[in-house]
Amino acid sequence: QDLSLPNGTPVDTSSPASSSSLLNRLQLDDDLDGETRDLFVTVDDPKKHVCTMETYITYRVTTKTTRAEFDLPEYSIRRRYQDFDWLRNKLEESQPTHLIPPLPEKFVVKGVVDRFSEEFVETRRKALDKFLKRITDHPVLSFNEHFNVFLTAKDLSAYKKQGMALLSKMGESVKYVTGGYKLRSRPLEFAAIGEYLDTFSLKLGTIDRIAQRIIKEQLEYLVELREYGPVYSTWGGLEVELSEPLEGVSACIGNCCTALEELSEDMTEDFLPVLREYILYSESMKNVLKKRDQVQAEYEAKLEAVALKKEDRPKVPTDVEKCQDRVECFNADLKADMERWQNNKRQDFRHLLMGMADKNIQYYEKCLTAWESIIPLLQDKPEAK
């Protein structure tokens, strides 16, 4: 396949890997439904593009599939953040009854964060990869037409321009009017979801603050350690018999510094972004709940209007019937998505928190190795030599 930038210019990259090694590289999530997976998507290989007007990063999106909806079994195209953002908006528009996964934040404060640093790009890449994988996992969203185009089109900008004029192959484009109807009361189960999301995002916010505070304290501890280690070395320079032991302690502290730096970096790059992602997720989910309320409110208002106008009409008018359908569909979609979301959330947090514990264990193990290795040096038994 030719690889090209969204605007059509060919890009010089390595040829796409063969299917088998591609499979090995793709991270396979747990298959919740027990179905055989037939769609695999990966985001990798970030590259910087310097053009006259701007500088930006593109990511390679690789797809492997056996689905009939795709013309080819494999695709490899490049996309930039804008494109992901476009996709998300399209999904929200076209699938308003479903929970759309979040994207990493769009705007970053220039000067504070280096948009082109390795760490930032890698963090973003991971988030974009997660975003596409979540859509891939979804039984409805993964069949969305815009998603298909996103994964396959060589020139996405041309497709984008076509916009709303394009007829959907999948079914009717559902548009909901937000008519300003007020819902009297949210049904119990959705009220419970709303309350849950409120508390959930609150707690995540607290955890985010705690994690940031820990990183800050660790970095301040690191600053002091960096001054501490060399003093032992200076002292070693004054001594004769104690010279080696003191140098040893100095080097040991240096190793601990390196280990601590790695721990803080890992937490910043791997832990915090996922927390923030889930906070964003909760926010967008609350919006979907509100939309659902709107749809129900519209139905209830229309139903009430009919009841007031006509007496003893046995048949309910079609537009009210359609409203009822919408409400029921919305509720069903939302309930199914919530269940899926809860399961995924549990897995994600299990993985995230175990990862945090792991990183701390590794940090202490590195320090332990360093200190254990200098004990013989400090004891310096002549027999051991």
């Binding site: 959930f200 505070r213 501890y221 002091e224 001054e227 004054l238 299990r350 202490y364 332990l368 200190w371």
Partner: protein, 402 residues
């Protein structure tokens, strides 16, 4: 070699007690008194324990003892006392002398001081030291009666000597530099270590917040709840563990402090040498000038310009009888001077010899002690790492059950 006191007698500073009393100006004061217990070490064949003797002493009496020892044995690197005021504290430690943790660490430091003196081959034989341990009443008078304060060199004199001595023993000059640098580096180390401890404390304590939020979060979860809750408990354990860790580390800091103060004692020996050397050089210089004066008077030649010589030229020379008298006085002084110089030289050489012997002993002790201190520090770090691994492994297991 005769056994030092430490082998014949068990010495402990076993208790500390707050006291109130009236000071020299009849004002009320609060101070801490320390209980010194001593017991003769019986030979194994007897198998019965000797009775314990005890008496109370306060810090100022320890200071008096040390001053006495420093003045009486200027060629010995006298063991230092624990710090008078809490220094190098980090925020959790109190700088208050009455703080129970400070008092406790001081008690240990005072015991260590007594054991150091009792193990020293020269110092342990001192009678005043023995009385300090065994005679409660009248000890202070006894010390003052030795008149040691009169023997003490003034600081000004010592400073003067430092700048003006021409030919100190090179080894002492090097040692002086070493002790200055040692003081500087250990102070720096203690300061930074205190800051490190402070920061580490912060890191551990913030983790305690996880305990609370995990508990709150677990309340709204179904399957995840138990795992979160129990992991939170481990975070609390982690946060609490730092208190013991840092308390142990204070012991390491105290070991370093002892050698910080030992460096000062080392410096004092070097100062004494400079003083004696300077004294010697001044005496020699004085003798030389007297001899010269004598020669000039005898031969009538003025080699060096002197105001006296000029005035005598201007106002007439002295009579032969006057000159004879002067020569006689000078010759007596010269004889005295030569004897003094001889004894000063001897003194100086003896001092250098015995001081250097103690310095060698001290060096070995220092190398041994500091190595042990570094090993115990490494062991503490290892223990801390193992605890960390344990806690996070437990937490990880809880997370895995989510």
């Amino acid at each position: 070699m005769e056994d030092c006191l430490a082998k014949k007698m068990e010495i402990t500073v076993s208790e500390a007690e707050k006291r109130t009393g009236r000071n020299a100006m009849n004002m009320q004061e609060t101070y801490t008194a320390y209980l010194i217990e001593t017991r003769a070490v019986e030979s194994q064949s007897e198998g019965q324990c000797a009775p314990v003797d005890s008496l109370w002493r306060r810090y100022s009496e320890f200071e008096l003892l040390r001053n006495y020892l420093s003045v009486t044995y200027p060629h010995i690197v006298v063991p230092p006392l624990p710090e008078k005021r809490a220094d190098f504290v980090w925020h959790k430690l109190s700088a208050d002398n009455m703080d129970p943790d400070f008092v406790e660490r001081r008690r240990i430091g005072l015991e260590n001081f007594l054991l150091r003196v009792a193990s020293h081959p020269v110092l342990c034989q001192d009678k005043i030291f023995y009385s300090f341990l065994t005679q409660e009443g009248g000890w202070k008078d006894m010390v003052n009666e030795t008149g040691f304060q009169l023997k003490a060199d003034s600081r000004l004199k010592a400073l003067n000597a430092t700048f003006r001595v021409k030919n100190p023993d090179k080894r002492f000059t090097e040692l002086k530099h070493y002790s200055d640098e040692l003081q500087s580096v250990i102070s720096h180390l203690l300061r930074v270590r205190a800051r490190v401890a402070d920061r580490l404390y912060g890191v551990y304590k913030v983790h305690g917040n996880y305990g609370r939020v995990f508990s709150e979060w677990s309340a709204i979860e179904k399957e995840m709840g138990d795992g979160l809750q129990s992991a939170g408990h481990h975070m609390d354990v982690y946060a609490a563990s730092i208190d013991d860790i840092l308390e142990e580390e204070e012991h390491y800091a105290d070991q370093l402090k002892e050698y910080l103060f030992y460096a000062e004692a080392l410096r004092a020996v070097c100062r004494k040498h400079e003083l004696m050397q300077y004294d010697l050089e001044m005496a020699a210089q004085d003798l030389t000038s007297k001899k010269q004066q004598c020669e000039e008077l005898a031969t009538g030649t003025v080699r060096t310009f002197s105001l006296k010589g000029m005035t005598s030229k201007l106002f007439g020379q002295e009579t032969p009888e006057q000159r004879e008298a002067k020569i006689k006085v000078l010759e007596e002084q010269i004889q005295e001077g030569e004897e003094q110089l001889k004894s000063k030289n001897l003194e100086g050489r003896d001092f250098v010899k015995s001081a250097w012997a103690d310095i060698e002993r001290f060096k070995e002790q220092k190398n041994h002690d500091l190595k042990e201190a570094l090993i115990s520090y490494a062991v503490m770090q290892i223990s801390m790492c193992k605890k960390g691994i344990q806690v996070w492994t437990n937490a990880k297991e809880c997370f895995s059950k989510m």
